[in-house]
């Protein structure tokens, strides 16, 4: 059960190993990694800068994680989200959920990503061929979050 907000990259293998090690009641571990894409809205993206709200970011991520643990029987959870300047191919976020059973691990991990997308205070500034632009929030992300029911 951990939330980390950091500029540095993370080591997926080391993080996932640490999450399950020593707990043989875990049967399944689902994880999701978000990466910087080189295209957005038909334009080439050279880099992006992730701005965030220190303090509130951690609080919101912890609240989202607590909600996941209230909804599903989870043995371990992890959320790491980076900020700062990132280039295409760079890792942005890692979410992982471990449970005795695979359905809980899949659902909780997907839920965490969908809620994080609409609730964690991060903003992306993309550097494109035609200048820098703030990424606009997508209705599809709101719809994805709404699938999981009322936000508290």
């Amino acid at each position: 059960m951990a939330v980390r907000v950091q500029a540095e990259d993370f080591d997926i293998g080391a993080e996932l190993d640490a999450l399950t090690r020593g707990n043989p009641s875990i049967g399944g571990l689902c994880s999701f990694v978000g990466l910087v894409r080189d295209m957005a809205g038909g334009e080439t993206v050279g880099a992006m800068t992730l701005e965030h709200y220190p303090g509130m970011t951690e609080r919101q991520l912890e609240a989202i994680e607590a909600e996941a643990r209230a909804r599903w029987p989870l043995d371990a959870t992890l959320v790491i989200h980076r900020y700062g300047r990132l280039e295409p191919g760079d890792r942005i976020v890692l979410v992982a959920c471990a449970s005795a059973h695979r359905a809980a691990a899949f659902e909780a991990c997907w839920f965490l990503m969908d809620w994080l997308k609409t609730r964690a205070p991060f903003w992306k500034l993309e550097e494109t061929g035609t200048g820098a632009r703030w990424v606009e929030a997508k209705d599809s992300d709101d719809d994805a979050a709404a699938r999981w029911g009322t936000t508290p």
């Binding site: 964690a120 903003w123 606009e136």
Partner: protein
């Protein structure tokens, strides 16, 4: 009261944070936003369309009807785009 601005609200207003003492008649977020709009063209531009302005008071999301008080940390920002 501590004001924080993020993303394009920050760039349009021209600063990331400031300490302000709104007049006593500013009692909620809606009133605060209206008062801020009068502080200059950057504010007026940034806050022209409040449907795309999200608000957190003391680091929790709140609606525009939420009260604001001296000592609060009030953040204004566009819909989030992380993940």
């Amino acid at each position: 009261m501590k004001l924080l601005y993020f993303a394009w609200l920050r760039t349009r207003i021209g600063r990331s944070e400031e300490d302000l003492d709104p007049p006593a008649e500013v009692r909620d977020v809606a009133g605060l936003v209206e008062w801020l709009k009068g502080r200059g063209p950057g504010y007026a531009d940034a806050l022209a369309n409040v449907s795309v302005v999200k608000v957190a008071v003391n680091q929790e999301y709140v609606p525009f009807s939420h009260p604001v008080r001296p000592g609060d940390e009030v953040a204004l920002f566009p819909p989030v785009t992380g993940g």
